[in-house]
């Protein structure tokens, strides 16, 4: 029996689901190895007997709350794909504003008709078996994950910071150009794609471990002339780190 796969979306841009369709070279092979039984963006049929359920999006409405519980019940293995699902993603930016204010700004006097709750990752509500972070998730990592899991092995995320990949690529470090980059604190696995396109790492794959964050805090305070509020704002962008101060 082929494993039965489902792809769901909560509050998101659905970019992580769509990223799967961007694996053009191996899409047909994937379709040969698994059976897609539920994928609203791509198909009409829907089934709820699921071996592996992939979910993109944050839990950000009461409806999301109900849906993720349902998906969890129906899926033997539940995988959070993308920053929205693993860390809350960009959706968490609203959490820093007063709820009645942001609702009013967008919905005026009809705010009551559009229920919302503070955005949180799937793991805030249900048990999640695996996390594939990134905004969007890294499609090559997704592919590797599928291969590993289908052959019964265990999956681990890289434990290095993005800088390791960046140095391996031979990219000129952005700090040399006076640009503050979150590479030192962010989990590798994206092949440091942003620095190789000239842009700073925005931390979309989450903080790799607390020690990295501590070390970065010390370095930034001692060696660089940067406003720590800017660093915190950068770290908030994808929900990577949501505290008010650096450790």
């Amino acid at each position: 029996m082929k494993p039965r796969i489902a792809i769901f979306s909560l509050t998101s841009c659905e970019g992580c689901s769509l990223a799967i369709l961007e694996l053009e070279d191996c899409l047909l092979d994937i379709l040969g190895a698994v059976e897609i039984v539920n994928f609203r963006e791509g198909m009409t049929e829907r089934s709820w007997d699921i071996d592996i359920g992939f979910v993109d999006g944050a839990v950000s409405t009461p409806e999301d709350m109900k849906e993720i519980e349902h998906f969890r019940e129906c899926s033997k293995v539940l995988v959070a794909i993308g920053a929205c699902a693993t860390h809350g993603g960009l959706n968490t930016l609203k959490n820093y504003q007063d709820e009645s204010d942001y609702r009013k700004y967008v919905y005026g006097d009809q705010a009551a008709r559009f229920p919302t709750i503070p955005a949180q990752p799937l793991s805030g509500v249900v048990d999640v078996d695996y996390q594939l972070p990134g905004c969007p998730m890294v499609k090559e990592e997704f592919l590797e994950f599928v291969k590993v899991v289908l052959t019964g092995r265990t999956w681990h995320l890289p434990e290095d910071p993005v800088c390791v990949e960046c140095k391996r690529n031979g990219t000129l470090c952005l700090y040399e150009k006076g640009i503050m980059c979150l590479g030192p604190v962010t989990r590798a696995g994206c092949n440091a794609i942003c620095p190789s396109y000239g842009a700073k790492c925005e931390g979309c794959r989450g903080v790799v471990h607390d020690e990295a964050l501590k070390a970065a805090g010390i370095n930034l305070r001692e060696q660089y002339d940067v406003d720590l509020q800017d660093v915190l704002a950068d770290l908030r962008m994808f929900g990577a780190y949501q505290e008010k101060t650096l450790p």
């Binding site: 049929e45 919302t116 794609i193 396109y197």
Partner: protein, 434 residues
């Protein structure tokens, strides 16, 4: 059929969550609604407080399909608000990037979302075994489109290199040459796409409506990246900064996305068919030939032909990309620093993305912090028009002797023909209920 209720929860094969509700009581159509149930995301609210240069990287996350389109509208709005003028090279690279997304989205829509209806299957998946050549061709074109985006912007879903003031990365000449070779090879695939498409039976339905799009005024090129606002009912161009003269947003009870009307009509259509109807003259000759072969002529009022227009535009986009690459290579690619802002104020940007014209407006404070924004999304603009089409279609469908299932499928096909991107559409500001 005297009493019929059609209630499709979560229309499939569209991006985002939407329902269709149609009620016929004693032979009279009492309700026709495309209900938007997508979660609210509060982009306009949480942009407040973020820094000016972050807007493109934040707003591209409104939608995974139209990510480059949002990036282009957003970056132009920020550049208007900061009086930045970018180089010609940057403009050309951004246009090439956007071409990649237009092609990617059109191929995805025609092959993955719409064609299964015509072939009577629920998804593209069974086609992989019954029509493997068709699926492989679709994937080949989609990959080319993705690679255009990856080479220019770093990736398609949430491009990296576009930054106010230009781009943070310049592709290498060899990369562009390799793309050009593949673009030339794609001509045959597009020809085959048109051949396949010609065999499908497009529902025969017309309803006169207004078509709104960008236009490059004068003898310029077919507009995607920028231009002025025109429509089939008002051909006098309007600057994008004055978009509120042309686009009036209203809010309706059943939809978490705003509806739009224009100064001229209670509803209008945006997207490939709208651009085709307004800018046919500026299409590449090969695209005009494709339109001729597919029997598409401006002004076409059958919304199902939006798919046809997508194929015609795909031909144009491939030819235009080849031309852009030739020009970029002749001029030689150079590393350029980002142009710095000279002020912080208000600005509007508009791009005609795969699904239609899109507006971003921002207000910055004196430190460059975003203090207000308004975003108008293609699907929001099409919603009222889709409902008007459903309303106009229903009597004919009820009289035709079609079963309830067939009518439902036809309504879903109509919704899919517009290629709605519902996750984009959930956005409100200045609510006013009608």
């Amino acid at each position: 059929m005297k009493n019929v209720t059609i209630d499709v929860q979560h229309v499939t094969r569209v991006e985002g969550h939407g329902n269709i509700l149609v009620k016929v009581e004693s032979g009279e159509i009492s309700r026709v609604e495309l209900q938007i149930v997508e979660s609210p995301r509060f982009f306009e609210a949480f942009l407040r407080g973020r820094r000016w240069y972050e807007a493109p990287h934040i707003t591209c996350r409104i939608c995974g399909i139209c990510s480059v389109g949002h990036t282009c509208a957003s970056v132009q709005a920020i550049e208007a608000a900061t009086s930045i003028e970018i180089s010609e090279q940057s403009t050309m690279l951004r246009k090439l990037l956007l071409n990649g997304e237009e092609l990617q989205s059109h191929v995805l829509h025609v092959y993955f979302l719409a064609v299964p209806d015509f072939l009577g299957v629920g998804s593209v998946i069974p086609l992989a075994s019954t029509h493997p050549d068709v699926v492989k061709r679709a994937l080949r074109m989609k990959k080319l489109a993705n690679d255009i985006c990856a080479i220019v912007g770093g990736r398609h879903i949430h491009p990296i290199a576009v930054h106010p003031g230009g781009l943070t990365h310049v592709p290498r000449a060899e990369e562009l040459l390799a793309l050009k070779r593949r673009l030339k090879e794609a001509r045959a695939d597009l020809q085959e796409t048109a051949n396949t498409y010609r065999t499908l039976k497009i529902p025969d339905f017309t309803r006169e409506t207004e078509f709104v799009s960008l236009k490059t005024v004068g003898n310029g090129e077919y507009a995607f990246y920028d231009g002025q606002i025109v429509s089939t009912l008002d051909r006098n161009p309007t600057n994008v900064s004055e978009y509120r003269e042309r686009v009036i947003e209203t809010v309706v009870e059943h939809s978490a996305a705003k509806h739009c009307r224009s100064a001229k009509s209670p509803s209008y259509m945006v997207g490939a068919l709208a651009r085709f109807n307004n800018n046919y003259d500026q299409l590449h000759p090969s695209a005009k030939d494709a339109a001729g072969a597919l029997g598409l002529k401006p002004v076409c009022h059958n919304p199902f032909h939006n798919n046809t227009a997508q194929i015609v535009e795909s031909v144009h986009v491939v030819e235009n990309s080849i031309e852009l690459i030739d020009t970029l290579l002749t001029r030689r690619l150079t590393e350029e620093p980002l142009v710095e802002p000279t002020r912080f104020g208000k600005g509007v940007g508009s791009t005609d993305v795969p699904r239609g014209i899109l507006f971003h407006e921002y207000e910055l404070d004196e430190n460059g912090i975003i203090v207000g924004s308004n975003l108008i999304i293609p699907t929001g603009q099409n919603l009222a028009n889709i409902e008007a089409d459903m309303r106009a279609m229903m009597p004919g469908l009820l009289d035709s002797g079609m079963s309830k299932e067939e009518i439902t499928l036809r309504l879903e096909m109509l919704v899919r023909a517009y290629d709605p991107c519902i996750s984009c559409a959930t956005h409100f500001l200045d609510i006013e209920w009608v």
